[in-house]
């Protein structure tokens, strides 16, 4: 569980720092709960027959779940005082199929100040047993300073 009492400050960030990994087991039940939550009812995300007919090995996570994995990872890194300005571009490369153990993580690519904002660009990606499934892609955030 994340410790939301902690806040990372722009002053303390260094390029190359790790964005701590967050792990997700992709199960069919989880994808069904996801469909109810993010209203992506495309059956490739919860029906193996449909997924197979469309060329996928089995049902796979929808793009809302993928974005959510990235959001949770970035939120837990930047704390309550961080703000997200831009996400992407990022590409979903291979399917996050049911049974996958997906790890989403990243690094600090660069930091700078502009127009009074403390900016940090993160490079985030998701990977599982089959390789990098999503990204790497950019997430631009602002952080408070001391």
């Amino acid at each position: 569980m994340a410790d939301w009492s902690k806040q990372i400050y722009w002053d303390d960030v260094k390029e190359g720092d790790e964005v701590a990994p967050v792990e997700f087991n992709v199960t069919l039940q989880r994808l069904i709960i996801t469909a109810g939550g993010n209203r992506d009812f495309n059956q490739v995300h919860h029906n193996d027959r449909i997924a197979l007919a469309q060329g996928a090995p089995e049902a796979y996570a929808n793009n809302g779940f993928v974005q959510g994995m990235w959001e949770r990872t970035v939120r837990e890194y930047m704390g309550l005082g961080g703000r997200v300005k831009r996400v992407g571009p990022f590409r979903m490369r291979i399917f996050n199929t049911i049974g996958s153990h997906v790890v989403t993580k990243g690094t600090v690519k660069r930091k700078w100040q502009e127009d009074g904002e403390n900016l940090v660009e993160l490079e985030i990606w998701s990977e599982h047993e089959g390789g990098t499934s999503v990204g790497p892609g950019s997430v631009l955030i602002t952080l408070p300073s001391k």
Partner: protein, 196 residues
């Protein structure tokens, strides 16, 4: 023969730069509420207090509980079925898919159809979103604009079709832009090969 079968991939390429929204603003089915945020966060096990703790959100400079940024698109989704409409499940086919009709297929819509061959599969591929403003409980989101930016024809492991990128905006009930989006997708014919 459907209307789509009259078109070729070259028609789609020729349409790059065209806006297929018909100028319509497409409103999401529901206003943002605490229940929709909770249900969105549940499978992600995302416990950021900004999504459920009003005091904490205000302490951080927000006007109240905020919607996760990754859920903006969700809250622009129209309903599959609306009161007064015919059933969306008219068959016992266990794999039948009820879908939200695209704007161009609604009789009242001014949105033009996208000129492309008929496909039988598709999925999202690329995402780029610029977040302009927070979204709060009580807001009602809509999507605006559907401009075709790019088309790339390609055979992949799953079939043959077109990668497409569309640009749009997400606005709140006051018409204020809360996000700018570029969404990529791949529409394809499952198992098909590229023309020789």
């Amino acid at each position: 023969m459907s209307q789509q079968e009259h078109h070729t991939w070259n028609d789609l390429i020729a349409a790059i730069g065209r806006d297929f929204s018909g100028g319509e603003v497409r409103q999401g089915a529901d206003s943002v509420d605490q229940s929709s945020i909770r249900r969105y966060c549940e499978p992600l096990e995302m416990d950021c207090p900004l999504f459920y703790d009003e005091n904490e959100a205000r302490n951080q400079g927000y006007e109240g509980i905020i919607l996760p940024w990754s859920a903006y698109g969700t809250m622009t989704s129209p309903a599959i079925w609306n009161p007064g409409e015919n059933t969306k499940w008219p068959t016992q086919d266990k794999d039948y898919t009820a879908t939200i009709r695209p704007p161009s297929e609604r009789s009242e819509s001014k949105a033009p159809p996208v000129p492309m061959p008929e496909t039988n599969a598709g999925f999202a591929t690329d995402i780029e979103i610029e977040y302009v403003a927070p979204v709060y409980v009580g807001d009602r989101l809509s999507s605006r604009g559907h401009k075709l930016l790019a088309v790339t024809l390609r055979e992949t492991r799953v079939g043959y079709g077109a990668f497409q990128v569309y640009e749009g905006e997400i606005v709140n009930q006051r018409g204020e832009v809360v996000a700018k989006t570029r969404n990529g997708s791949y529409s394809y014919i499952s198992g098909a090969k590229a023309p020789a």
